[in-house]
């Protein structure tokens, strides 16, 4: 997948504070290369240009929500293979199940613990690509 040992994460999140926290959480630990954006449209663009290993995708966003964004990503040959992990504040079982059904690799719930976020993402990544 990625040539470097850095895991390239695209964080799509409309809340700037949460963007900042995630960035701090991941960059503080190290081993991640972060790109963030606030809308689905930007995410589509960055997915093609930044070539993330994994997209951390907020569900509730203005204009284009996470699910639509994921479907758009899946519809584009350039981005269809990029694994996506949803991040949602809706923690009801059925909601989580719905998101999994959309083909997300995993669903993380908000609020999240920034101190374990890096570890969690690495675990997901490891599961995804055992050889990596």
């Amino acid at each position: 997948m990625s040539a470097s040992s850095l895991l390239r994460i695209l964080h799509v999140e409309d809340d700037a504070d949460i963007q900042a926290i995630a960035r701090l959480a991941l960059e503080g630990v190290g081993g991640f290369e972060m790109e963030t954006c606030g809308t689905g449209e930007e995410a589509m663009h960055l997915a093609r240009t930044f070539h993330p290993d994994l997209i951390l995708l907020d569900v509730m966003m203005p204009d284009m929500d996470g699910v639509t964004t994921l479907r758009r990503l899946r519809g584009d040959p350039q981005t269809e293979a990029i694994p996506v992990v949803f991040m949602t504040a809706k923690i009801q079982q059925e909601e989580v199940a719905r998101l999994r059904g959309e083909g997300a690799l995993d669903v993380l719930v908000k609020p999240f613990d920034p101190m374990t976020l890096a570890h969690t993402l690495r675990q997901i990544w490891a599961r995804m690509a055992p050889d990596g």
Binding site: I18, A89, G101, P111, F112, M115
Partner: protein, 936 residues
């Protein structure tokens, strides 16, 4: 009413007067005639000629008077005239007596002698025989008086008779004349009249109704004691015009009108009016009066009755009053009220119901209730009502109703039943739920939105604090570090609180979903211990499994059970001394499995025990801060446990600790411990909407040795299941009175139907409704037409057999997610031999060389769709291998169409999957033991 006898009396008197007149006329004629005879005799004609002539004339006259007996004698007493009247009266012919006998022959001897004795005393000399009559007549004492005469045949008659002496022209006695009239009948009638009047008085005296009699002018002649009692008047006061004064002034005019009207139309007067008694009390009476008329139709008076109806009127007034009150209440009710007959005909709709349905009262009354139901309710409306009312009476049920404009809306109906003289009635208290549903929807949205809106800032707060506390911004001074940790801890508490409030809301609105299914208790308990140990570590507490109950199975939702156990374990940890243990025990008892969580903490204080399961109940205000709980955990746990048909409770001792226990119903093995599975088999209940199909199933199953009971409707099935135990329920997704899935869902939440195996038999247009989504109904098999008898029998056998047997089934797990594969392998390690394939190709290769007892399929595989494997998933005998589809991507309707094998929709959690697998494999094992060719 019989014509009163006083009337007859009057008539009699009139008759008498008339008779007297005719008699007087006759006497005059007789006198003339006699005179003529004598005159003629004196005027030179031969006396015989003259006499003969006169006698002839006289005879003619006398014979014309048949009502009177006219008898004449010569002075010696020999009868010389005996007219027709006498003949008629006495039975002798004139020839027999004229010139032959004296009147003594028809007089009663004793009477004549008696008269003679009296006469003798008077005259001072003895009188005898005919002389008695002669002397009487001569003395002028034989005027009109009553004599007893004796007929020729010996019978007696009473006669009013005058005997007079006759004199010739010279004044010499020429004989005697008897003029008699039969008064036997008159006397008899007078006697009867007397008796009748006597009876009337006696009767009226004893009569329970007032009786009165007036003359033609309305003056009262008679009142009976009861009449006086009613009016409060003395008998004297009541007579004459007294009674009119007793009539209530307000009613007098109307009474007179009624009286006149009755008179005018010659009919009985029936009128209700009031008497005002002298003591002021008012009494209502029902008076009936009829005119008494003479034979010529003249009104002679009135007789009538007066019945005291005061009580009845009072009751009527009270009834009217209550009616008015009830009516007012019904009219003003906010809720709709509809009453119907047993046939469903609407009798009453109050204004609220009229507004609700958009009809006027006139449009509804007399119509059938089906007018208010959606058109989807088909068939015989009577049948529908019979079915539904049995379910709905005495309960609050939700229906769909239809407005005049055709729109369908939800209503809540509380139906009750009452008995009227006309028969059984049903009344429905109807509430329009449209707004409520809307409010519920808004509340759901609100809660969900708030949850999201709260979480977003909390994510930043918690995140920032977490980073600070974790040293992401460099080491913090001690005091700052302490403050940051406090803030972090409380932001976490806030998050938990939001979660609990969400749960609470879901439980209260009935939207918390439960996937109740057979679970192996120990697996779930051990999982809970493992996943909560990290939390326990914070308190320095060790979670210990003190007692196990291997193999026990309960009916529960695994996720919810985990939630309850997490609550109890975290509570126990919080109240445990550091370094202590929390002891978890599992015990199986009669029908229940008890999971106990015991701490060695301070125990629960007496005064707090009652409130322990209440919301936000914490022993004291400081507890919340010290222990970091939300105060909702136990309340949520209780709701969850009870929803799963279980019980929650605790024992506590101050200073020693507290033990919370959860009792869950055992998932029964239907064959029980009985070693003879073919012995006393429970019957299979068939509830299929098509009667012909129902019979076919019955025949097929009967041939396979099953006893079969049939139910036509869901409610009937429900009733039967409550009463008896069945091996399995065979049912169609659509039923005449509801859909099968709703039925099964309700069944699962009832004690009697929780563990009943259900086999769905789909009709010509198969497929479960969309509502099945999100429900783990534990439907064991899905049969589609055409019906294969062998398959049906086997499915029932599978369904009816339960009980886990040793020996690991081989399961093919086709799944491209290695995590899922690993997890499932771990979860099922003790129970099945798992073989995994990560792609369709891999699975095909495995299937080509190996046999599996079941398969778990992911639908979306890198190289195709899992369902493509179905043709290959066949046992050697061609029977389909049970398949569990593990994906949320496709709706069960579409799957059902493709998968003609067993299908359990599951939601994507491992526990669901395990449970589904259990059910299938158990069935499979049972089938194997029953001698079916499943294995190679």
């Amino acid at each position: 009413m019989k014509r009163p006898s006083s009337h007859e009396g009057l008539d009699r008197r009139e008759d008498l007067a008339r008779l007297r007149k005719s008699e007087a006329r006759l006497r005059a004629i007789l006198r003339q005639a006699t005179d003529g005879i004598l005159r003629d005799a004196s005027v030179s004609r031969s006396a015989e000629e003259a006499l003969a002539d006169s006698t002839e004339r006289l005879g003619a006259v006398l014979n014309a008077a048949t009502e009177l007996a006219v008898i004449a004698t010569d002075p010696a007493g020999t009868i010389n005239l005996f007219n027709r009247g006498a003949e008629r009266m006495l039975g002798y012919t004139a020839q027999e007596v004229v010139g032959e006998a004296s009147p003594l022959i028809f007089h009663r001897g004793e009477e004549v002698e008696e008269c003679g004795r009296g006469l003798a005393r008077r005259l001072g000399r003895p009188v005898r025989g005919f002389g008695i009559f002669a002397d009487l007549a001569r003395a002028g004492l034989a005027g009109e008086r009553e004599w007893t005469w004796v007929r020729k045949d010996g019978s007696a008659l009473l006669v009013l008779c005058s005997i007079s002496a006759l004199y010739d022209a010279k004044g010499l006695p020429s004989g005697f004349l008897w003029i008699g009239r039969d008064i036997t009948e008159t006397r008899r009638q007078e006697q009867a009249l007397r008796e009748s009047e006597e009876r009337f008085r006696t009767l009226s005296t004893a009569s329970p109704v007032g009786v009165f009699q007036t003359d033609a002018e309305g003056l009262c002649l008679y009142t009976n004691p009861r009449w006086c009692e009613i009016t409060g008047l003395d008998p004297e006061e009541s007579l004459g015009v007294g009674w009119i004064r007793a009539v209530h002034p307000d009613d007098q005019d109307e009474l007179l009108m009624a009286w006149r009207r009755a008179l005018l139309w010659d009919e009985e007067m029936i009128h209700e009016f009031r008497f005002r008694r002298p003591d002021g009390e008012v009494r209502w009476v029902l008076a009936r009066a009829a005119a008494v008329r003479s034979e010529v139709g003249k009104v002679q008076g009135y007789v009538g009755t007066a019945e005291d109806i005061t009580e009845r009127r009072r009751a009527e007034e009270a009834l009217r009053d209550s009616e008015v009150r009830t009516r007012a209440i019904i009219e003003q009710l906010l809720g709709g009220l509809v009453t119907i007959t047993e046939e469903g005909v609407i009798e009453l709709v109050n204004p609220a119901a009229q507004r609700m349905f958009g009809y006027t009262e006139e449009e509804l009354v007399g119509q059938h209730l089906s007018l208010l139901l959606p058109e989807t309710v088909e068939g015989d409306p009577k049948e529908y009502l019979r079915r539904t009312h049995r379910q709905a009476v005495g309960r609050v049920t939700e229906w769909e109703a239809r407005r005049k404009n055709g729109s369908v809306f939800p209503v809540e109906v509380s139906l009750f039943e009452f008995q009227t003289i006309q028969g059984r009635r049903f009344a429905g208290n109807v509430r329009d739920l449209t707004q409520l549903k809307e409010v519920e929807r808004l509340k759901r949205e609100f809660v969900s939105t708030v949850s999201h809106e709260l979480r977003t800032p909390l994510t930043s707060i918690r995140g920032s604090l977490g980073l600070l506390a974790g040293g992401a911004a460099g080491p913090l001074p001690d005091k700052a570090g302490e403050l940051v940790r406090i803030a972090l801890k409380n932001s976490e508490r806030l998050i938990l609180l939001i979660n609990d409030i969400l749960d609470m809301e879901k439980i209260e609105s009935g939207r918390m979903e439960f996937a109740i299914q057979p679970l192996t208790v120990m697996a779930n308990v051990e999982l809970a211990l493992a996943s909560n140990q990290a939390y326990a570590d914070q308190y320095g507490v060790r979670l210990v499994l003190a007692q196990a109950a291997p193999g026990s199975q309960v009916l529960a939702d695994p996720n919810r059970l985990a939630q309850v156990l997490a609550n109890l374990l975290s509570n126990a940890c919080k109240f445990s001394p550091s370094g202590g243990t929390v002891d978890v025990s599992v015990n199986a008892a009669e029908g229940w499995v008890r999971i106990s969580v015991a701490d060695h903490g301070p125990g629960i204080r007496e005064e707090f025990r009652e409130r322990i399961f209440q919301r936000f109940a914490q022993a004291d205000a400081s507890d919340a801060r010290q222990k970091g709980g939300t105060g909702l955990g136990l309340s949520i746990s209780k709701a969850i446990v009870e929803h799963m048909g279980g019980r929650i409770g605790f024992e506590t001792e101050v200073g020693r600790g507290t033990t919370f226990h959860v009792d869950l119903p055992v998932a029964p093995s239907l064959d029980g411990p009985s070693p003879s599975p073919g012995g006393a088999r429970r019957p299979v209940l068939v509830c299929v909407n098509d009667a012909r199909a129902s019979r076919r199933f019955q025949e097929a199953l009967t041939q396979e040795g099953y006893t079969v009971e049939r139910a036509a409707t869901a409610w009937e099935a429900r009733g039967l299941i409550e009463q008896s135990q069945y091996a399995a329920l065979l049912m169609s997704p659509e039923l005449p009175d509801g859909d099968g899935l709703t039925f099964v869902r309700n069944l699962r939440s009832s004690a009697s139907g929780r563990s009943l195996p259900v086999v769905m038999v789909s009709g010509q247009s198969p497929g479960p409704s969309e509502r099945m989504e999100g429900e783990a109904l534990l439907i064991l098999d899905w049969l589609s037409p055409p019906l294969e008898r062998a398959r049906l029998a086997e499915t029932i056998r599978l369904a009816a057999r339960k009980g886990w047997v040793a020996g690991k089934p081989r399961i093919l797990h086709v799944e491209d997610d290695p995590d899922v594969v690993r997890v499932l392998a771990v979860v099922l390690a003790g129970e099945a031999e798992m073989v995994s394939a990560r792609s369709l190709g891999e699975a095909e290769k495995l299937l080509a060389r190996e046999r599996f007892d079941a398969a778990i399929l992911d639908l979306d595989l890198p190289d195709g769709v899992g369902l493509d494997l179905l043709p290959q998933l066949k046992a050697p005998d061609g029977r389909a291998v049970p398949v569990i589809v593990f994906s949320a991507a496709e709706s069960p309707r579409e799957m059902a169409r493709k998968v003609n094998a067993a299908l359990v929709k599951s939601r994507g959690t491992h526990q669901d999957l395990v449970a589904a697998l259990h059910a299938l494999i158990q069935a499979q094992e049972g089938s194997a033991r029953a001698g079916s060719k499943v294995e190679e």
